[in-house]
């Protein structure tokens, strides 16, 4: 019996297992309704069919989960605490309006990493908690949490009226969010004065270090309770992370274009979010060599000249560590890895506890000799790897660290460490509002002195979105409850490796992704989606000053729709909302106090990635959708003319039917984007698609590479004339709009050229192995001069194509 059959049998056997009645959808629905809506402790019964003894235990487990999930309740109390706590710093924040001179090399213009900080929840399975909480376990858990949080505010307030807490805040008229929100509805813009005085949400607060770890301990224990001895870092990927980023590379179009044109280089760079702020990736090139980081734990350096490739060197990493990303800067190559460790703590004879968690490492090599990279130094910091950025010589690493909050302060383990030592209390920032008990630990390394940490700081809280401008790091924490969502923003300034907490603020709604945040001339612009108590969605744009004080807003845009992508250039912002059709909003931001909607272009489908293609063109990559149902029907490329932001038009579109989701569009670093070279590419359903844009003829299909057929050829010598995966004219759907202008004759391609490129369908190809797909979001396309390279780090295959000869394949290299 082969492995596949075995798995099949196992699966078959499992089909006979039926879940117990207590897990039936009906029982679950009842359980959820009971948990959420019934405040009566007597009736807060778990799912039927459970024994009393277990009921209690379950409730306690749930409490652990809820502590984080329900952090929202604190959202309201945060306002009160925050306002009363601080305002003194607001006028002293060091801030430069103009970005400092960009001294970055072209490589630094690589794009940002968007493996977004996933919303994280730590769930503790907590026997220790059991005894403490047992008496209360029949009470509604959410009520308990509310009470806890309110208590922490030292406000005797009824749990059901959290908002009344706000009366403690300095400005009484700041108390309620919904009514005032609506007050702005008619005008669509907020009066600046109104924004200051009547803004429903307090918008500014400082971010100050704590005085001691006792403070952190008290706050964490108060909010989340103590954790079990067997604690564990459990970071849930809530779909916020790698897979969810709906993107739009933010950059100042001008600086980007300038960088491109002054460039002697002719090779592609990582697609980053912010010009001048580099992001790590798994594949990089310097124009002569290709650097490939493989999940299997190795780094390959390939020389690449005119499509012929040769391995220059091969480095392996400890099997205990997982390679994450790398940075390339002339003769410095820095690799980030992370690992999991478990240590037995036997210091207490009574209790033997296991301490476990993640550590993140940064190894920096001298690669002046490509066949002999030399390790120059390495640093380590506590926590699982989340993000990193590089600006100039400094790499900034961001990890999540989970403290152990025990019954007493002495037993607890609260201080994260880095190679620089433990973080002292003055390096820890404790926001008033805690939505998670983990810390975001930030540390910086100078790649010229790569064996030491320059600075390290931590914020008690983790973000749902993360954005780094050239000078500041913004962490967005989403907080929600049953009536409103808000996003708390924490701002850290960074410069030459030094990281300093600056300010905290908050806006209504939640952000789609990091591209919903943008800093320009000191002001932070944010696009959010909010909902009211009847769950009606609407969208808003907010402008915050350097102290994160709200100065201007537009609310109630596109009711019932959700922000899908956003993009800012100088004083203009663009964002796409979607339900059934795609309005592309353009907004004038030149007066931060009075943002104005300039236009609202409705087209079919929606863009999930926006990129400024030239001064006057905005490229949207996304999906075509059925205008009645909103269901996606195909991949859609749109080109918008933005020469007049008040009158944006869709000048061309290309729809590829049959593709309803492309993961790589949600991971902007996997997109090859080079308007200067006039080429962009991405992988989709086991194909790599390359396009260009012609001002007159519109989108041009340059090349479609089929990984599936490639694999067939390589593994079984099967006749490559099997065209099941190739382009076929779509004769089934004559209803498609006929406005596209692609000229197939101009498009060089290995694939069959379709007579009607605008009416093409790509069939979905089902991978047929258990373990691998042929292309995934780790596939990277890059070019050097006139050669396109497709790199698949997972399979270890690199293929080169001659771009001047209809993308004819030059060579394929299989890495070991």
């Amino acid at each position: 019996m082969n492995e596949k059959d075995l798995l099949e049998q196992l699966k078959e056997a499992a089909r006979q297992i039926t879940p117990p009645d207590s897990l039936s959808p009906e029982a679950i629905e009842t359980m959820l309704k009971t948990q959420t809506k019934d405040p009566d402790p007597q009736q807060a019964a778990p799912s039927p069919g459970k024994q009393p003894a277990r009921k209690k235990r379950i409730s306690v487990y749930r409490l652990g989960g809820l502590a984080a999930a329900f952090a929202v309740v604190i959202a309201a109390s945060w306002q009160a605490g925050h306002l009363s706590a601080t305002r003194e710093l607001t006028s002293q924040i060091p801030f430069a309006n103009e970005p400092s001179g960009n001294q970055n090399t072209p490589e630094d213009l690589l794009l940002l990493d968007q493996e977004l900080i996933s919303e994280v929840t730590e769930v503790s399975d907590s026997p220790a908690q059991t005894s403490a909480e047992e008496a209360d376990t029949t009470a509604s858990v959410s009520d308990q949490l509310q009470e806890k949080n309110i208590h922490s505010d030292t406000t005797a307030s009824d749990g059901s009226q959290v908002k009344s807490n706000l009366k403690n805040s300095q400005t009484d008229d700041n108390t309620s969010s919904a009514p005032e929100t609506r007050a702005n509805k008619e005008t669509g813009t907020a009066d600046p004065t109104e924004a200051e005085t009547e803004n429903p949400i307090p918008m500014t607060a400082s971010l100050k270090p704590v005085e001691s770890y006792e403070t952190v301990y008290e706050a964490l224990k108060e909010t989340f309770g103590q954790q079990s001895l067997l604690r564990e870092e459990t970071l849930y990927d809530t779909g916020f992370g790698v897979n969810t980023l709906e993107i739009a590379a933010e950059m100042e179009a001008t600086s980007q274009l300038a960088a491109g044109s002054s460039n002697a280089q002719d090779y592609s760079t990582t697609n980053v979010q912010e010009a001048g702020v580099d992001e790590g990736d798994i594949v990089k090139t310097d124009g002569e060599y290709i650097y490939i980081l493989r999940r299997s734990g190795s780094l390959e350096i390939l020389s690449a000249k005119d499509g012929s490739m040769e391995i220059a060197s091969h480095l392996t990493f400890s099997p205990e560590e997982t390679v994450q990303e790398m940075y390339l800067d002339n003769d410095r190559l820095s690799v980030i890895t992370s690992g999991y460790y478990t240590e037995m703590d036997t210091s207490n004879e009574e209790v033997i506890s296991a301490k476990s968690g993640s550590k993140t490492h940064l190894y920096t090599y001298d690669i002046s000799e490509k066949n002999d990279p030399k390790l120059l130094g390495s640093v380590t910091q506590d926590g699982g790897y989340q993000q990193s950025r590089k600006n100039g010589d400094y790499i900034y690493l961001f990890t999540y660290f989970s403290p152990a909050v025990m019954e007493t302060y002495e037993e607890s383990h609260l201080a994260p460490s880095t190679s620089k030592g433990g973080l002292d209390a003055s390096s820890i920032y404790l926001p008033e509002h805690l939505n998670h008990s983990s810390y975001l630990v930030a540390a910086s390394v100078n790649i010229q002195e790569p064996d030491q940490i320059v600075d390290h700081k931590a914020v008690v809280s983790v973000g749902s979105a993360f954005y780094a401008s050239q000078e500041n790091i913004y962490i967005a924490n989403e907080n929600w409850d049953n009536t409103a969502t808000q996003t708390e923003i924490l701002k850290l300034h960074y410069e030459d490796g030094v990281i300093t907490g600056i300010a905290a603020g908050s806006v209504e709604g939640y952000v789609n992704d990091s591209f919903s945040l943008n800093e320009y001339q000191g002001y932070l612009r944010i696009v959010t989606t909010s909902y009211d108590e009847n769950y009606n969605e609407s969208n808003g744009l907010y402008i915050l000053d350097p102290n994160l004080k709200l100065v201007g807003a537009i609310r109630d845009l596109a009711p019932g729709e959700t922000v899908r992508s956003a993009r800012f250039v100088g004083n203009t912002g663009y964002f796409v909302t979607f339900r059934q059709t795609d309005p592309l909003f353009s907004v004038d931001l030149s007066d931060p106090a009075v943002p104005k909607v300039l236009g609202n272009l409705k087209v079919s489908g929606f863009s999930s990635y926006l990129h400024f293609y030239s001064e006057n063109l905005l490229l949207g990559l996304g999906y075509e959708a059925d205008e009645n149902t909103g269901a996606t029907t195909g991949l859609k490329l749109s080109m918008f003319d933005i020469s007049d932001p008040a009158n944006v038009t869709e000048v061309d579109k290309l729809v590829i039917n049959g593709i309803t989701w492309c993961d790589s569009l949600n991971d902007y670093k996997s997109i090859l984007m080079d308007p200067e070279k006039n080429i962009f590419g991405f992988s989709c359903d086991n194909r790599y698609l390359v396009f260009s844009y012609d001002e007159e003829k519109g989108f041009q299909k340059e090349f479609i590479y089929d990984f599936y057929n490639d694999l067939m050829e390589n593994t079984s010598n099967e006749d490559p004339s099997d065209t099941s995966g190739e382009l076929t004219p779509d004769s089934q759907d004559p209803s498609l709009p006929d406005t596209d202008t692609t000229d197939p004759d101009k498009a060089g391609s290995n694939s069959q050229a379709s007579p009607n490129d605008e009416l093409m369908t790509l069939e979905y190809i089902e991978p047929d192995t258990w373990y691998d797909t042929y292309a995934d979001t780790t596939t990277r396309g890059l070019y050097i001069n006139d050669t396109l390279y497709l790199v698949r780090p997972g399979l270890g295959i690199v293929t080169s194509f001659d771009m001047t000869e209809g993308y004819q394949q030059i060579e394929q290299l299989q890495l070991q």
């Binding site: 019996m1 492995e3 075995l6 798995l7 049998q9 196992l10 699966k11 056997a13 499992a14 297992i17 879940p19 117990p20 207590s22 897990l23 039936s24 959808p25 679950i28 629905e29 359980m31 959820l32 948990q35 778990p46 277990r54 379950i58 749930r62 989960g65 809820l66 999930a69 929840t121 769930v123 399975d125 067997l230 564990e232 459990t234 849930y236 809530t238 779909g239 916020f240 897979n243 969810t244 709906e246 999940r295 299997s296 734990g297 099997p319 997982t322 749902s464 989403e478 929600w480 049953n482 969502t485 939640y510 769950y535 969605e537 959700t562 373990y771 691998d772 797909t773 995934d776 997972g794």
Partner: protein
């Protein structure tokens, strides 16, 4: 599997019914995964139930409706990991033999028996592949293992099962 964006949106707004509809599409696989991993019926039930509670609270943070299934499995995997860890702590309390806990599982195919004999990690890896449809690289990320390790563990587990079946 099709996930209605609308259902996810409704669930996000606290609609228990919408959530239950989404759950309905995957709950059998969730339970089977938990049972295969934990070898313990009440704990599998707990794990799924806890997952639902957590997920419902957090669904607002799920931005991509299409990721619902994979997101649920991630939460469940963490729940199961915690349970497995807690077993280590109190092995004595736990029945070594599945028969004692779940008599109805004994009548299953040999292949299942061979599966029960695998270690916790191997069962979890195989179950993630079987029920959640994760690739080895995704499993690696979930379990902090590198992709090749996952693949070799998978392979080794299947070999072990084959040997058992050949006896």
């Amino acid at each position: 599997m099709e996930y209605s964006t609308d259902l996810v949106n409704q669930a996000r707004f606290g609609d228990a019914h919408a959530f239950a509809r989404l759950y309905e599409m995957i709950y059998q696989d969730l339970y089977r995964f938990a049972l295969y991993t934990l070898k313990n019926i009440p704990d599998a039930e707990d794990a799924v139930s806890d997952t639902v509670t957590d997920a419902f609270r957090q669904i607002r943070t799920l931005k991509k409706p299409e990721a619902f299934k994979s997101w649920m499995f991630k939460i469940l995997t963490n729940k199961c990991k915690q349970k497995l860890k807690s077993y280590l702590d109190k092995t004595a309390e736990l029945p070594e033999d599945l028969e004692a806990v779940s008599p109805d599982l004994n009548r299953k195919l040999d292949v299942q028996e061979a599966f029960w004999a695998l270690d916790d990690e191997a069962r979890m890896i195989l179950s993630l592949n079987l029920f959640a449809g994760y690739t080895s690289s995704e499993i690696g990320q979930l379990l902090n293992l590198n992709e090749n390790t996952v693949r070799s563990k998978q392979s080794r587990a299947l070999k072990k099962m084959q040997e058992k079946l050949a006896d």
